[in-house]
Structure formats: C-alpha cells, structure tokens
Amino acid sequence: MVLKIFFPQCCNTADSGLLVGRWIPGHNSAVVLAVIHYPFIPGQVKKFLNELQSQTQVELIVLGSWSMPKEGQEGMDSFLKDLSTIFPQKCWLQLSREIGKTGFTCHVVQNNGKILQDPEQENGDGSSEKDQITLIHYDQRKVMLSQIHPLEEVKSDSEPSELRLVFQTVAQSQLLFSQDKYDDGPLKLTHWQSEGREASIIAELLKQVSVPVCFFLSWLLSLWHYFWSFRILNVRPVLFISSKLSTCVQSGHRALNFETAFSTKRAATHTDFMRKANIFVSFLVDIALGLLLISWLYRENRISKLANTLVPVADRVAKELQELLEWLMGAPAGLKMNRALDQVLGRFFLYHIHLWISYIHLMSPFIERILWYVGLSTCFGLTFALSILSDMVALLTFHIYCFYVYGARLYCLKIYGLSSLWRLFRGKKWNVLRQRVDSCSYDLDQLFIGTLLFTILLFLLPTTALYYLVFTLLRLVVVLFQGVIHLSVDFINSFPLFAICLRICRPYRLAEGVKFSVLCDEPGTPLHLMMEINPIKFTSVLQLYRAPTYSCYPKDSWAALCKKLFVGELIYPWKQKKNAKTD
C-alpha cells in the first residue's frame, strides 16, 4: 500500500509544529490542512480542534509533527516522538526538513511504537512489500475554491472517490483558514492565508447590500404576480393571445428567472449558485445592450425615420402580394389551372389585401407615437426589444398568415377528401375499429357521387396546391425571420456567461480532474508530487450551465415538418392545441 500525504504548498516553509488534518476514511491517505506552531498547550489544541470539528463537521485531528530545522533547535526528534503520546493516534507522521535538501523525510510511527521509515533507505531489496510514502503538494487556495466535476457521482450509493473527499475536506475546513497571524488567539497556525485574510471591500459591501435589494425585488415580484392573478387577465382570449405574443412570454420568463436569482435564500449548492450568478450576469448584459440600443435609437430623430419607412415597406409588401396574386390568376409558369376556381381564389385574396392596405393607412398617423413608446421598453433589455420586434413582424404580416391558413385549410380538405375518395374508387374503406383498409361494397349512388366528387377534387387540386405552395413559402420566410429573432433571444437568456467568464479568468474554479508532476525524486526521501487542477472543457461548461429556456417553436423533426407541409396541417405557431387545452 502506498501512503499518500496531501501537503499544502504554503506550509513548506512553516516553522516546526503540529500537523493538523484528516485521515481520509477508507483510503490510505491523509490531508494536511495547517501547522500549529510552538509554543502551545496541548489542552488548548484539543479544545480548538474540537470546536472546529463541531462547526465544520470535519474530523480534524493532529496528524503528526512537522520539524523545520533552525539554528539553536537541535535534538527535537525525541521531543516530537513524545508528542505522539500526548495526542494518541493510530499513526503518527513525522515530517522533517533538512537544510540543503529540497525534499523532506517522513517517518510513520504506528501506535505500537514501530517506526516505518522510508523504505529505500532502510531495506534496499525486498522492499516492495513494505509501505511506500508519497507526498502530494497542493495549492490550498485553489483546491478550496474549486468545484470538481461531474457534480454528482455516477452511482450515488457508491463511496465518493478519494480525490473528491480531499477536495471536500479542504473546502469544508474554510473556517480553519479564517485565523491569521494578526489574530490574538492562543494558537498560531500556518495555512494559505495566515499572512492576512484575503477579502475585497466591494465584495463585502455588495454582500451587505444584496439582502435588502433582494427583499425589495421579491416584493416587486410578488406585486407582479398579484397583477397577473387578476381575473380579467386569465380569461380565455387574453390568456391565449398573451401566450402567443413573444413579449409576454419573455416577460414571464424573466419574472421566473428573477424569482430564482433574487430569492432571499442563500444558494445552497454549487449548481444553485451558478444558476443565480448566470441569470444575474446575463440580465446585466441584456440591460446594458438594451441601454446601448436605446441611446442609439432615441438620437437624431431615428424613431420618426423608422416610422416613416415602416408604412411604405408594409405598403410595398402589400403591392408585391397583389402582383403575385395577379400573376397567379393568369397562367403562372405555364401551369394549367382551373380558371373559375383560380379567379374566385384570386379575388378573395385580393379583397383581403385591400382590407389590409386600408388598415395600414388608418394606422399610419399613430405609428410614430406607438414606436416611440414601445421603444422605451428596450430599457428592460435587448431581449425585450427583440421580442417586441418579433411581435411587430407577426402583426404586420398578419395578412400573409391569413392567406397561409386559408390555403392550408383548403388544401388539407382536398387531400383528405381525395385520400378517402380514392379508397372508395378502389372499393375499399377505412375501418376505424381495426385501423386498416377493408374492402366494402358500396351502393350505386354512393359510388356515383363519390366518383363525381373524386374527379372534381382531382382536377381542382393543382390550383389549390399552387396557392397553398406560394403562401406557405411566404409564411416560411416570416417564420424563419421570427425564428432567428427567437433564437437570439434564447441565446441571451440561456447563455451561461458567468460560468464562461469563470472558466476563462479562474480556470481552477471549475475542475474536471487533476494532474500530477514529479517535484523531486531524490534517494532517501519519499516521492514528491505536485498536484495541479485540470480545468473543465468549454463545451461541458456550456452543456452543464446552460439555463433552461422556454421554447415556443415546434419540436418536430425535419421529416415530420415536411410531412405536415405536404398534408397541409398548420405549422407554427397555432399548432399547440393540446397545451392550450390543458392550460
């Protein structure tokens, strides 16, 4: 068995004293946390350790002794051996440095008084059965702050690994490190911040301020919830419309995020903390981007310029649509369409466009003012601005949506009619109970009417299909644009900015493992290894800390989407019938 001793780097040059630490249960290894210097009273040491143990839930004990040779301190060995009788342990470690050597020697005294020395020194051959000692040096600060990944063990019931236990031990004994040399305690310790505690005034101030701010914000949030619980806002049409407007969805999502981020409870686990921090940082970035946009938008009269271009653009779109319809009403691309149906459909859609143009013109005097007020909402963040843009696009292309729905419904009707009449044509029918096609003998009149309708539908299908195709393409363009906006909103909402920054600036905070390098391997001293922390990969940071988002787009695969398009079922966004019903 190899005895592993995890030794903090900061104690390399510490004065002689007692080693305080912990034996890792179930493994043949010890973690040294600090050195208690002479002079001390053993009773006080025991009391101090007991207090710490009750506060931190770590079994802190005196592991052994540490001797740093200095002038005028000779003959310590016997004294150090005697100490083991004061602090009775199963094993007593004796670490000692010698002048002029980088490595230090280690003796392990079992409680029966047998000395276990460095094997190479004692027995040159046949030593393989003897215990070997490996000293692993670690950076106490980094190990204390780092979080090892994956966060949960794969098998929760199995024992946590040795490395995880070491990291946990160091992280949990944070209280031990709060005592520095300026404290007037009975004991003097050496650890990573014994030269003076590390802190920042800004961070402390922020910590103090955060509590009342969180209280205030949660109060505001409760007001918001109260507002939304009004009965008038929960009736069917309002609820339906608000679930379709991306601005409303985004504000709901934001409120939910705030609830997580500004809860007055302290984040208990690492995941909670990271979630809070991620939400908070993305919120700050969002607001900053929004303010940038606002400062650009409200300068040089840009709003009115925008409003002045918006109406002609909508007009232009309507004109283009009109021309498209007129082209369709002729002989588009030399296709042979049913003239009568073509005319009827064309006129129907033209009337719609006429309605649309008059609506736009009715609106045009107010558009600038509307834009001005709506633009103010950008100060809530860039995501809000993008959501509002998406909603405005949806509202301004409502006619295209209507065309699409009419076309799709008509086409869907034809496809269904044709498929069932085709079965009739072959003398079959769909058996609902057995979910299969059965043969069936129809009456003469059924056959006659069925065939008549089949012929009519078949010859009218190309006309409807063409209208459907054109309007579906238009609709897909709009959906694509909205999809890009939603993707960017989602990106801002869910991007784990804090975790990424942490990974860049403090790579040791998110650890994925460790690597060892040999410090010195002199004969006569145990093997000295240096433990360094392997930072986690960026892709795993993204995967782990990506915030969950609302997604309002269809989760269909491409094949399912194509099938839907072919059959004429409606695609995004009114497709969530099931969800709407269960609400």
């Binding site: 042979k336 049913n338 003239r339 009739l424 044509f425 003398g427 003998s441 065939t451 008549l452 010859f459």
Partner: protein, 293 residues
C-alpha cells in the same frame, strides 16, 4: 425408391408416413405405397364449345357498350344529336328497363323498396344536374390529348376490371373507372346540358344495364344471346356510321373474342396436366356446374 428400401430392414414393423415417431428406417426411406395417392386432372372439366361461346357474349356486349358510348359522345360533340332528345330517349329506355327488371323479378322478395329506387334516381339526377356546369369547366385548361388518353385508360380499366362472373352490382373499380372516363369525355362537350345527358347515358350503360342483363340471364336464359347480339350489332353499327374500317375491325375483334377464343380454350384443355395428392392445400370449390356437359 428402390435404393431407399435397402436390405436388412425388419419387415415386421410397417413403415408409416409420419415424422413424429422414431422408426427403424433411414430418413429418406419411402416404400412402394408412396405415390399411390397421386391423381391427375381430377378437376379438369371438358367444356362444351357452344356454352363457352354463349358466355363470351357478356364480354363482347360490354366491349360493344364502350363502342356505343364513344359513338354517342362523338355525335354529341359534333352537335349532330340534340341533347334534350337524347335525354328523353335515355329516360324512356331507363323506364322501359326498370319495368322489364320488375317484371323479370317476379313476385319474389325485393331487396330494395320502390322508394329507395326513386331516391337513388333523384340523387343521380340532382347531383349530375347540379355538378354539370362545374364538370363542364373542369378540364378546360387540360389539353385535349391528355383528356383523351385519360378516358382511354379509364375505359380500358373498366373493361379489364369488370366482374364478368358476377356482374350485378357492378364492381367498384370498374364502375368508377368508367364514370371517371365519361366525366373526362363529357367535360369536352359544348354545353352543360350535353354534359348532363352524357353522364346520364354513362350511368345507364355502365351502372344499370349490367343489373338488368344479370336479371335477364337468370330469369330468361333464352333471351340473353339475343340481347348480347343486339348490343354487339348496335356497337358495330354505331362505329360503322362514323368510320367503316373501324366497324370492320371491331366486328373482327368481337368475332375473335366470341368464336376463336373459346375454340382455343376447348382445344388447349386437352394439354392440361395437373397433379393432385394429399400434399395439396384445402381448396374451395366454385360452383361451375353450368360449364359442365
């Protein structure tokens, strides 16, 4: 067989043709009784020539009906026939046919009431009349060649899929194909009334006539060859009035169908060599008694 029944096999245990028992014989052993149950041509019937000819009349008259329909359509398209007159004549024919059908049906149990018949007739007329303007403009933009090709394919499909063994009621696919073809053709006619007339005719010929013919065959057997012959004559005459060479071709085709094909069937029947045995699947035997001599 001889090689399989090798010496040294105790004759005391008789060989049985079963697989579920272990027997003291090699796996491929069979004894002399192996092919005892083989039978040859047990179900081959010797048809009589004239009875087969009589049955082919059904096919011939169906082909002739298609010819008559095409003739009628051609005259209507040329404007040589006034649609109202054709309509009146076909209505008269329909009433006549219905009367005949009722008389031949006798006093047996009726499957349908008169009211249901009237209802069906009303549905036919109303739908055809209502849809005829739509049907008229339906194939306007489709090229004439396409329409002709589609109707030709559909009428051929009608002839191929017609249930000659059981012509009443006409099978779904055959009737639908015929109606589809006639709708295609009718949409090329000059007016909505023409379309209506054409569709009514199609209905009479392809949907109602097979029912009447079936009843004639059942109840008055002697008149069936006459009826079929009459229809064939009508078809040949109709084509002849348009295109004499076509009439010659059609009559030759009909003659081959009715005289040559049965001769071939009867002649080839001698060469039949079917083997039957206990390995055959179970077979459902149709009632072919009227083909027997």
């Amino acid at each position: 067989m001889g090689a399989d029944s090798g010496p040294g096999i105790p004759a005391a245990v008789p060989w049985r043709k079963v697989l579920y028992e272990r027997q003291p014989f090699p796996d491929n052993y069979v004894d002399s009784r192996f092919l005892e149950e083989l039978r040859r041509n047990i179900r081959v019937r010797q048809y009589r020539y004239w009875s087969v000819v009589r049955e082919t009349g059904l096919i011939a008259q169906q082909v002739s009906w298609v010819a008559i329909f095409l003739t009628l359509w051609y005259y209507m398209e040329q404007g040589a026939l006034v649609p109202s007159a054709v309509l009146l004549v076909s209505m008269g024919c329909a009433l006549l046919g219905y009367g005949l059908y009722e008389i031949l049906g006798g006093a047996g149990v009726r499957e349908r009431t008169r009211l249901a018949d009237l209802q069906s007739a009303a549905i036919f007329l109303a739908f055809t009349f209502g849809f005829s303007p739509v049907l008229k403009t339906l194939t306007e933009s489709v090229s004439t060649d396409t329409v002709y090709a589609m109707s030709a394919v559909m009428l051929l499909a009608h002839l191929v899929s017609f249930p000659y063994a059981q012509p009443s009621p006409p099978g779904s696919l055959s009737l639908n194909a015929a109606l589809f073809g006639s709708v295609c053709l009718a949409s090329r006619l000059p007016g909505a009334l023409h379309t209506f007339t054409m569709l009514s005719c199609a209905l009479l010929e392809f949907a109602l006539w097979p029912c009447l013919l079936h009843r004639i065959r059942e109840k008055a057997k002697w008149s069936f060859p006459w009826a079929a012959g009459l229809v064939c004559l009508g078809g040949v005459g109709g084509v002849g009035s348009l295109w004499p060479e076509g009439a010659v071709l059609l009559s030759m085709a009909l003659l081959i169908l009715t005289l040559l094909c049965p001769l071939l069937l009867v002649h080839l029947q001698r060469h039949k060599d079917n083997i039957h045995g206990p390995w055959d699947e179970a077979e459902i035997r149709e009632d072919l008694s009227h083909f027997l001599n």
